[in-house]
Amino acid sequence: MSTISERFSILQSHLEKNCKSKISKISGYVGFIMRKLLFSVLSVGPIPAHVAIIMDGNRRFAKRHSLLQDSIDPASGHRLGFRSLITTIQYSFEMGVKCVTVYAFSIDNFKRSPQEVQMLMDLMREKIEEMSAEDGVFKALDVKINFWGNLELMTEPTRLSAKRAMDTTVHNKGPELSVCVAYTSTNEITHAIEASVRDLKGKDQVQVSDLERNLYSAGCVEPDIIIRTSGETRLSNFLLWQSDFTHLQNPKPLWPEFSLRHLVWAVLEYQRVYAYLKNKKEGIEKNK
C-alpha cells in the first residue's frame, strides 16, 4: 500500500507540477484515499482486465469552447485530451485494470491536412518524451508501453521516440499501455496474414491461431470494454478482430470531458453484462 501511495504521490506531483502547495498535496492524498474506497466497492464485482478507448471529440471540444479562436496553439483540444488520457490511465490502473489500449492515430487520419498531421505527430513525440522522463508517468506507474500499428508510416522523430519508450519500459512489470498509432484493424489483419504465410515453412495451412499469434496485440488479453466517447456508435476500424465478446460503450461526453465518474459508470455497465458475455465466450471456446 505504501509503495502504491508513494507511486501515486509522484504521479500527482507530476500532474500538479507548478503547484507546490501543501494543500494540493493533501488534497491529492485525500483524492487517492477516496478513490481507493470507491474502487474497493467496485471490486465486489468483476473489474475489466483490459479497457480500450477511442478518444473521440478533441477537435469538437476545442471548437465548442472557442479554444481555437485567437489561439496560437491549434493543438489545444488534443492537449486537453492528453490530460484526460493521463488521468484515465491513472484511475484505471488504480482500479486494477491490467491493460489500457488507446486509439491515438488511425491510418485514415493521414487524410487530414499535412499541417494537422505534422502537429499531431509532434504532439505525440512531445508527450511520449514527457511520459518517458525520469519523473514521468511510465516510471511512476511502472508501465510497459506498446505501440501497435504500421509504425513505418509515422514521422521519423516520432517513431524513434516511440521505439525508445518501448525499449525503456520493456522490462517494467506494471500495467500495460498500448497506443494504436498508424493503425487500422484491417491493416493489422493484413500484416498478420503476411507474417503467417511467411512463417509457414512446410506446415500445411494457416490457422486462426497463426493469425492471432501475428497480430500486433498478440500476448495481450482481449478487451473487456471498448469505450468510444462523443456518443459515436462505430468502431472506425479499431480492434475489430479482438472484440468478439467486448462490451461496446459510447458515452456522450467528448474525450476531454471524460472523467472518473464516466470511467466508474463504464465499469458498472460492464458488470451488468459480464455474466452474459463470459457465457458466450466460454460457449465458443468449448466448440473450438
Binding site: G45, N109, E194, T246, H247, Q249, Y276
Partner: protein
C-alpha cells in the same frame, strides 16, 4: 485485521448493490423515455418518420443472440418489417448458426413461398436468398475468423505458385484489396453493412466478421422478444442523419 475485513466486506457489498440499483434506475428511466418515443412514432404524429431516406443504407446487418434467434416467428416478423420499410439487403448473424439451420422455416412461413429462393444449408458458408424482394444473407461465427484463415490459405497457395518471381524473394506482400479478393475467391465476400442492429442483452457484435465492420454504425436494440417496429424506424431515421468523417 480479520474483524475489520468482516465488518468492511458487507458494507462494501451493500454500497456495491446501491450503486447497481442507481444504474438500474437510470436504465429504467431511459427505457421509459424510449417507450414514449416509440409510442409517438407509431402514432404517426411526426411526419419525419413516415418517409425515411434510405439512400445511405445499402446494407443492414442484424446480430441476434442465438437463444433469441430460436424464435423463428420473431425473426420472420423482423424481416417483414425491414422489407416493408424498404431495406434491400439484410445480413442476419447469430454466433451459433441457429438461423442458418432455420432458413427453410423462413421459406415455409413466407406468404408466397415462390418469392423465397433458398440455397442448401452449409454450416461454414454464408447462406443467401431472396425474400419479399429483399436479399437476405445469413452468417455465423464460422464466417468470420475462419473465413479470413481460408483467404490467407488462398493467398498462400498463389504466393507459392509464383515462387520463381523475383518479387516473392522479398517475402509475401499483401494489400487490403488482395485480402478482399481472396475472401471473394473463397466465397466470403459479403458487403460491409452501413448499420448493425444488435438484439440481445448487451451491445456486442459477438464475432461478426471483422473484415466487414470497419465503419459500421452499431446500435443496441435490446432483447428480440420486445422488438418494436417504431424502434427500428427511429434507428433508421437517426442513421439517415448521421455524418461520418472517415478519419478526416
Amino acid at each position: 485485521m480479520i474483524e475489520a475485513s468482516v465488518i468492511a466486506s458487507p458494507i462494501l457489498g451493500v454500497v456495491f448493490c446501491l450503486l447497481h440499483v442507481i444504474v438500474s434506475l437510470v436504465h429504467t428511466w431511459s427505457h421509459l423515455v424510449h417507450q414514449i418515443q416509440c409510442l409517438i412514432i407509431s402514432s404517426g404524429l411526426l411526419s419525419k418518420y413516415q418517409n425515411i431516406n434510405l439512400n445511405r443504407l445499402r446494407h443492414l446487418a442484424v446480430v441476434i443472440d442465438s437463444e433469441d434467434a430460436k424464435n423463428k416467428s420473431k425473426v420472420h416478423q423482423l424481416l417483414c418489417w425491414l422489407s416493408d420499410i424498404g431495406v434491400k439487403y439484410v445480413i442476419l448473424y447469430d454466433i451459433e448458426g441457429v438461423m442458418k439451420k432455420s432458413d427453410k422455416a423462413y421459406e415455409k412461413s413466407s406468404a408466397n413461398p415462390s418469392e423465397t429462393k433458398c440455397m442448401d444449408f452449409a454450416p461454414n458458408m454464408p447462406l443467401i436468398f431472396d425474400m419479399f424482394g429483399m436479399t437476405v444473407e445469413i452468417i455465423s461465427y464460422t464466417d468470420g475468423k475462419e473465413a479470413v484463415a481460408k483467404g490467407a490459405n488462398y493467398l498462400c497457395s498463389n504466393y507459392l505458385k509464383n515462387q520463381d518471381d523475383t518479387l516473392n524473394k522479398l517475402g509475401p506482400k499483401f494489400t487490403e484489396p488482395d485480402i478482399s479478393s481472396a475472401l471473394k475467391a473463397v466465397g466470403h465476400d459479403g458487403p460491409e453493412p452501413d448499420l448493425l442492429l444488435v438484439y440481445g442483452p448487451a451491445r456486442c457484435h459477438l464475432g461478426f466478421p471483422a473484415w466487414r465492420l470497419r465503419y459500421t454504425e452499431i446500435v443496441h436494440m435490446g432483447p428480440l422478444s420486445s422488438m418494436k417496429l417504431s424502434a427500428v424506424v427511429k434507428v433508421l431515421y437517426d442513421f439517415s442523419k448521421k455524418h461520418q468523417n472517415y478519419g478526416k
